[in-house]
Structure formats: structure tokens, C-alpha cells
């Protein structure tokens, strides 16, 4: 276990990959990749979703086996056939989706497969606590995993790997689930381990993190390694270009359109949740065709209830929602969809809502648009056509329309969801967190798709998290705080500070774009 401290000199090559290729069916996840990992260094593996980062690292952790190519550890060629082999070579991986046994304690997870002795002894808890202390971390070794927060689980994962004496550490998107403070704490730990002489690989698609923590960056694109650069000699724009494959203006387009009629009118809407707590309080606004209306607010300010109420999934306490001139209260979700109102809500676990994970892309298309029971058989042909179009339009990386959705990488799952909503030609599109967890390239594909809808005259309600993005993309921004509208601003002139204040509860009388236009 003390291998961490007596590893060989810094800068020495810990792992070298030569010509690694791996395919899943017809998807080539890794194509002839070369990679060098050094001791005493943090290497960032950067790439869009689906570019093959996880797959490549899983070949070092023994989960996958390369179809061809060679792996050298400390200069010797090795064949990593199982996670045990990886452990023996000092390689430890912290997976994006934690591999922990929920019903066991932290200590039992840490010693799993690594401890000795016939009986489980109580001192294993003490032992686990000591390992944590040695690396400046804290855990409660007797706590069950299912009672832990994400950040605690991650600590257990890291300790588990360190307990096995790993000195080559791979972390797959470790910050995706952490708050900024937790991220900083993790980075502290990683820096300390690097200074101890460990080799560290951090997989990410967040540019600012790459620039902050790494010493070198290797960029993957569509399964190929396109460049390796020193972090100190690069910048966000260059990295993005490598990642996406073309120069990307990190500026979001906002086409000027002429807003048309009011498609959705919400009057004094009040809704309560099951416990009788008011979630939306006297909310009034309208949404016109040809505009993107952003909805900002701290999480839990009523965004979810707003979406659900418009989609007919949540009862109205007071007030009304009119679609054109028609009251939608009392209509079933299906009738509302038929009116032309579409909703795509991306929950934190993307598969949680809206898609059936083991069905393929074509079947998932069918779930929404072909529900009219004219025939007992499902019109598979039409769905296949539709799936093909969506794949092409949104640039979805997949082995084909028959691939189950759960096999897709996260960003591509999101594209399928949005693509399906757009494809039914809605006149109102509600989209909540459509770029959650997405890399830049995929985010821009989604922004473009939304802008295209706007140009077609669709009214887009965009519920978002990132104020910078909303200020660039939206036409107007409505701010919610504790279920109340605290202001509706012109996104072309508003500032982040202004919105921040409204999010925190300040109010303004400004209701930009809501005034009655003559002869409407």
C-alpha cells in the first residue's frame, strides 16, 4: 500500500498505448489511438460525448479488451484481461457511474476483493478510516453507500482504489456530479497525489477544468486521438477546435425574427404540489411564435411545475393557460400534444424520463408520434424513416436505428429525445435543461436546432441553468423565484447581475414584451 510514496521518478512513462482499436458492433469507439501517461503528471483526456474516452480507459482497467494494439506499463508490454490484472499493475479507475455495492458499508466496499483473512473483523472500519486520513479525506466507514451523497460515494471510490495501492489513477468525469466547492476539494487531492508521484488521468469535457488542473491534454474526436498539447501552451478556443474539428466561435447565434401571435397565454397561474405547498404563485406571461423565452431561477423555483402544468401533467389550482384561444385546463397530456405543444424535459439521469432505455431509436420515435390506434400494428417503417432523419439532422453517433438507446452515450440520448420532439412539428416547444451535461459541440447542435425552430415560427420555452448561455440564446428571460415571476427582461440588454438579483428575490415591474400590441 505504500507504493504511492516509492514510485519511480517523475516524468517517467507509466503507461503507453500504441495503436489501440476497439469496436462495438459497427461503431468504432477507438481507432488506432496512441497515448502516453507520465508519472507526476495530470493528463486530461478531453473529447465530446461519445468520442471514446471511457472506452479507451476501460481497456486499462480491464473492463474491455482492445481489438488490436499494444499496452505497455512501466516499459513492459502487458495484457490486461480483467480488473484484477489492472489492480496488480497499480492501475485504478474511478468510473463515471460508481461501481459500489449500495447495501454495504463504506469500509466493506473499500476492502472488497483486497482484504485478507477468513472472517470479517471489526478493525476493518478503523483500517478504512486510516486510509482516508492518510490522504487527507474523511469518511464514515460504517455508513451504507445508499445513505451517502454523491461526493461521499466518490470519496469511497477513490479510497477503494488507493487501498489497493494504485499509483496510476484514472477518473472518468469525476466533477460532473460535484458542486464547485467539492470539485475544488477533489482537485486538491489530485494535486497532492500528483506531487507524490502518481500518474493521473482525468476524463472530462469541461474546458475550464482542463485548463485548471491538467499538465497535458490529449484530445479525442470520434474515436481518434487528434492532438496532445501542453496545457500551458493552449487555450479554450484551440482545445474546442480540436474537440469539434472546426473552428467554433464560442458565441451562440441569435437570429432576429419577428415574433408572431401569442401562442401560449398564462394567466395568474397558481399550482400546488401534493403536500399543498404553493409551487407557482400567480404566474402570468405569454409566449409568442418565433421567440425563445428563457426561464431562469435557482433550482426548484417552480420550473418543473411550470413545464408539467403546461404539458397537462399537473393540476391547476387557480388561473388559466390558453393555447391560442383554447383553455387547456382539463385536457389530457395526449390532447395537449395533439394541439401542438411538445415538451422535452431532461432530468438529471437522462434516461429517467421520456425514453425507454432498452428499445432502439426507431421504437423510441414511435412512442410519441404514432399513438393513434388506427391499426393494431405499429408503423415501424415510418418510425425508421423518422429515426434516420433525426440521426442525420442532430448528428447522433450510433451504430444505427436498431441500437438500444441505453447503449448511446449521454449526449446522444439527449439528442434523440429532443429530435423526437422537434420532429412532430410542434408549434410550442418546451425544453428543460436540454444541454445538461453536454459537451460544447453537442450543445451547439442543440442551440442550432432550437434556433431553427424559432425561425420556423415555433414558440420555444427554454428552461435553463447557464445564465451566460441564456443571455446569448434567448430573446426574453423570465425570472422565477419561489414560484413567483420577479421580472421579464429583454435578453439583448439584460445583464447577469440583474438576473442574479431577480433570482435571489428582488423584483422589478419590467415585463418586457408583454405589453398589448395594437390590433392583435
Amino acid at each position: 500500500m505504500d507504493t504511492v510514496t516509492n514510485v519511480s521518478a517523475r516524468g517517467e512513462i507509466a503507461i503507453e498505448l500504441r495503436g489501440i482499436t476497439k469496436a462495438f458492433g459497427s461503431v468504432i469507439a477507438n481507432n488506432n489511438i496512441d497515448l502516453i501517461i507520465r508519472r507526476g503528471e495530470i493528463l486530461a483526456l478531453l473529447g465530446e460525448n461519445g468520442s471514446g474516452k471511457t472506452t479507451l480507459m476501460n481497456m486499462l482497467s480491464g473492463i474491455y479488451h482492445p481489438d488490436s494494439g499494444r499496452i505497455y506499463v512501466n516499459g513492459n508490454e502487458v495484457f490486461i484481461r480483467s480488473p484484477q490484472d489492472a489492480t496488480r499493475l497499480g492501475i485504478g479507475m474511478i468510473h463515471q457511474h460508481f461501481k459500489l455495492v449500495d447495501v454495504l458499508t463504506a469500509a466493506d466496499n473499500i476492502i472488497l476483493g483486497a482484504g485478507k483473512g477468513f472472517l470479517l473483523r471489526r478493525n476493518r472500519f478503523e483500517e478504512a478510516r486510516k486510509v482516508a486520513e492518510r490522504y487527507g479525506m474523511y469518511i464514515d466507514p460504517e455508513k451504507k453507500i445508499y445513505e451517502m451523497s454523491v461526493s461521499e460515494k466518490q470519496t469511497v471510490e477513490i479510497l477503494k482504489v488507493l487501498y489497493r495501492g494504485a499509483n496510476i489513477l484514472i477518473l472518468d468525469e469525476p466533477t460532473a456530479v460535484l458542486t464547485p466547492q467539492e470539485t475544488q476539494r477533489l482537485f486538491e487531492i489530485l494535486r497532492r497525489m500528483r506531487d507524490d508521484g502518481c500518474a493521473i488521468v482525468i476524463i472530462t469535457h469541461k474546458l475550464n477544468e482542463v485548463l485548471e488542473i491538467s499538465d497535458r491534454v490529449t484530445i479525442l474526436r470520434r474515436g481518434e486521438s487528434v492532438a496532445t498539447v501542453k496545457t500551458s501552451e493552449t487555450n479554450a478556443a484551440k482545445l474546442t477546435e480540436y474537440m469539434v474539428g472546426r473552428p467554433v466561435t464560442l458565441k451562440i447565434e441569435r437570429p432576429d425574427t419577428k415574433p408572431t401571435e401569442r401562442l401560449l397565454n398564462v394567466y395568474h397561474l397558481t399550482v400546488e404540489d401534493e403536500d399543498g405547498v404553493t409551487r407557482l404563485d400567480d404566474v402570468s406571461f405569454s409566449l409568442r411564435g418565433g421567440e425563445i423565452l428563457g426561464v431562469a431561477g435557482v433550482a426548484g423555483s417552480g420550473q418543473k411545475e411550470l413545464c408539467e402544468t403546461i404539458a397537462g401533467l399537473h393540476p391547476i389550482k387557480k388561473g388559466a393557460i390558453l393555447y391560442k384561444k383554447e383553455n387547456i385546463e382539463g385536457k389530457t397530456p395526449r390532447e395537449i400534444i395533439k394541439l401542438g405543444i411538445s415538451m422535452s424535459f431532461i432530468p438529471e439521469d437522462r434516461l429517467g424520463m421520456g425514453l425507454a432505455a432498452s428499445l432502439d431509436i426507431a421504437d423510441n420515435m414511435m412512442l410519441k408520434s404514432y399513438r393513434d390506434p388506427k391499426s393494431p400494428f405499429t408503423p415501424r417503417k415510418a418510425a425508421e424513416e423518422m429515426a434516420k432523419e433525426v440521426i442525420k439532422k442532430l448528428d447522433i453517433v450510433t451504430s444505427g436505428i436498431n441500437q438500444p438507446v441505453r447503449m448511446l452515450s449521454g449526449g446522444n440520448v439527449q439528442k434523440v429525445l429532443l429530435g423526437r420532439e422537434i420532429h412532430v412539428n410542434p408549434s410550442v416547444l418546451i425544453t428543460a435543461y436540454p444541454v445538461r451535461g453536454l459537451d460544447i459541440g453537442s450543445s451547439y447542435v442543440i442551440y442550432d436546432a432550437l434556433n431553427e425552430q424559432k425561425k420556423r415560427g415555433v414558440g420555444v420555452l427554454y428552461i435553463g441553468e447557464d445564465l451566460d448561455v441564456m443571455l446569448e440564446l434567448c430573446d426574453r428571460i423570465m425570472v422565477l423565484c419561489h414560484g413567483k415571476v420577479t421580472g421579464i427582461l429583454n435578453a439583448r440588454t439584460a445583464t447577469k447581475e440583474q438576473i442574479g438579483l431577480l433570482m435571489a428575490g428582488a423584483t422589478t415591474n419590467e415585463r418586457y414584451g408583454e405589453e398589448v400590441v395594437p390590433n392583435e
Binding site: 473492463i63 455495492v101 447495501v103 483486497a114 482484504g115 470479517l120
Partner: protein, 327 residues
């Protein structure tokens, strides 16, 4: 009072084969494999145990043979589900059909080969399965008769259940077993040999089920072989696993309760005779008694799913085969 003591005594006896089956199935399910072939495994154990006892007159060999038959039967199951990743439900059901047919086919041959057509264990052999009065303990009034004067296999079942409970809870191998059944991907990433752990425990569980079968054929038919002897007890054992919430220790109590249900139909008359207030018992149709164990299991299932305690639930990956490369 005697009626109650006799009832308890008989309930424990009736619960013993269930306890073997349940303990075996718990170990199997803890490894993440739902084996619906318990009935078949018990049939195989019943026949092979009987055959060896019949010819060798050795109880030890008979039990070892029954254990071996269970191991072999579950080896088929393990090979199909763990190595070839076949559907667990289908494979288990097939194993039940296979085991039942196996016992019927060879049982019929044994009957044909025996003079008089009724293969019967020798008196010498059956004496080994006589009830043992445990010194001192069996002298306790009432309880002594009900609890401490059973045949040796009853105690064996309880010892195996307690050992299994300790194995799962307190040993390192038991920790690995639990991890494998809960989350094989995590176990694998931790460096455990998931395939080996599954094989070892499925075979161990299968062997224990086999002994349960032998109990039935050696004791329940007065030493005479009967082709249909197991008669659904394997299925009750599968239900009992849920009742025992995957704990072999709770299975001891559970098997007593279920054993009581299975003999209630026979004993209802006694109760009615002794306690006039209970005379309605003998007028309840037999089918109700047969249904009781399953009804209780359903109720337990509902209660456990309402309370939703993570520890007493089915292992999270039970029924799902593990492929390393699948996401």
C-alpha cells in the same frame, strides 16, 4: 396440550425439507441467480439419495450422493446461466421439469427392478434415521418432545442454516457473495472473480437442496420409494426465501411456519376434536390449507415492499445475468 406438542413436532418435521431447500436457494439468490429449479434439484436428491441408501445402507453415502445430485443438477443451471448467459427463469423451470422427469424415469426403473414393486429401505438403514432423544433437553416437559427428540437430519438442517447465515454475514467469502449478487459490476471492478463466486455458491446451494430431497424420500414415505414424493415442496421453498427475507436464520422460523401450514390440513381434525371451539377447522376445504403458505408469502411480499428496507430485500441483481462489456 398433547395435540399442540404433536402438532409442533410434526410441523418441524414437515418444515425440515423446506428448510434445506430454502437455505440452498438463499445462497443461490445471494449470488444473483434466481434458480427456479429447486423442485427439480430436490427430486434428483430424493432419488439418488434413496438409491444409494437402498443399495449401500449407509446414511453418510446416501446424503453425500444426494448432495452430489444437487450439485450436478445446479451445475447444468450454472453452466447455462453463468457461462452461456441463458435466461435464468427459463433455465430454472427447465431444470424443474428435468429433475422431476429424472426421478420419475429412474424411479420407475427401480420399481420395476424390485421384487414386489415397492423398493423399501432396509430396517437397518431406517434405524439410523430414528428419532434421537437428546439427553436432558428431551426431558423438558412438552418442549423436550417438540424440539429435542427429532431425527438427525432435522438437526443437520438447522446446523446448515445457521452455518449459512454466519457464512453470509461474517466471513469474507460471504461478503464477496453478497457483493456479487447485489452488483456484479462493482464486484468485478473490485477484482473479484464473479464467475467463480457464482459457480461455487450455486453448486453449494444446489447440493443443500439435494439433501432436502433426500429427507423427503428417506423419511416421509415410510422408507418406500414414491415417484411423486417431492410434490411441490421445492416451490414452497422458493416462496419461503421471500418470507425469510433472504436470511437463512429467519428461514428456520419460516420453515416451521410453512411446515405447520402444510400439515394443518391433516391435523385440523385433531384440533377440532380437542378444542370444540375450533371445530370449524375441519370443515374448511383442504384447498384453503394448501393455499395458505402462498397466501402468507404474498402478504409478506406486500409488507416488505411497503417497508422497503434495503437489507431485507432481494439481492439487487438477482435474476439478471452479468456481462462485463455491457453497459
Amino acid at each position: 396440550m398433547n395435540t399442540i406438542v404433536n402438532f409442533l413436532f410434526a410441523a418441524i418435521k414437515a418444515g425440515t425439507p423446506l428448510l434445506f431447500g430454502t437455505t440452498g436457494e438463499i445462497i443461490t439468490e445471494k449470488a444473483g441467480n434466481l434458480n427456479l429449479g429447486v423442485e427439480g434439484l430436490m427430486y434428483m436428491g430424493a432419488f439418488v439419495g434413496f438409491l444409494v441408501g437402498f443399495y449401500t445402507e449407509s446414511l453418510l453415502l446416501s446424503l453425500l450422493a444426494a448432495f452430489g445430485a444437487g450439485v450436478l443438477g445446479s451445475l447444468i443451471y450454472a453452466f447455462l446461466t453463468v457461462t452461456l448467459k441463458a435466461n435464468q427463469n427459463v433455465t430454472g423451470l427447465t431444470l424443474t421439469i428435468f429433475g422431476t422427469g429424472f426421478a420419475n424415469f429412474f424411479g420407475e426403473m427401480l420399481i420395476a427392478a424390485t421384487k414386489g414393486g415397492a423398493p423399501k429401505l432396509s430396517a437397518k438403514f431406517s434405524a439410523k434415521l430414528a428419532e434421537i432423544q437428546i439427553p436432558l433437553l428431551s426431558d423438558i416437559p412438552y418442549l423436550g418432545r417438540a424440539l429435542f427428540s427429532h431425527n438427525i437430519l432435522v438437526y443437520l438442517a438447522i446446523i446448515i442454516a445457521i452455518l449459512s447465515w454466519a457464512y453470509i454475514k461474517f466471513t469474507r467469502a460471504g461478503l464477496y457473495l453478497r457483493a456479487t449478487g447485489e452488483n456484479p459490476a462493482a464486484a468485478d471492478a473490485s477484482g473479484l472473480n464473479v464467475t467463480l463466486i457464482k459457480y461455487v455458491n450455486i453448486l453449494l446451494g444446489g447440493g443443500i437442496c439435494g439433501i432436502g430431497g433426500a429427507y423427503i424420500s428417506l423419511l416421509n414415505g415410510n422408507g418406500v420409494w414414491n415417484n411423486g414424493c417431492v410434490n411441490g415442496q421445492g416451490w414452497i421453498a422458493v416462496a419461503l426465501v421471500i418470507f425469510a427475507s433472504w436470511s437463512p436464520a429467519k428461514a428456520i422460523l419460516g420453515s416451521l411456519v410453512f411446515g405447520a401450514f402444510t400439515i394443518f390440513q391433516v391435523r385440523a381434525g385433531d384440533f377440532a376434536a380437542e378444542f370444540p371451539a375450533l371445530s370449524f377447522l375441519s370443515s374448511i376445504p383442504n384447498a384453503i390449507y394448501v393455499m395458505l403458505p402462498f397466501l402468507v408469502t404474498a402478504v409478506v411480499l406486500i409488507i416488505t415492499s411497503i417497508t422497503r428496507k434495503r437489507e431485507g430485500a432481494q439481492p439487487a441483481s438477482c435474476g439478471v445475468n452479468y456481462y462485463r462489456e455491457e453497459r
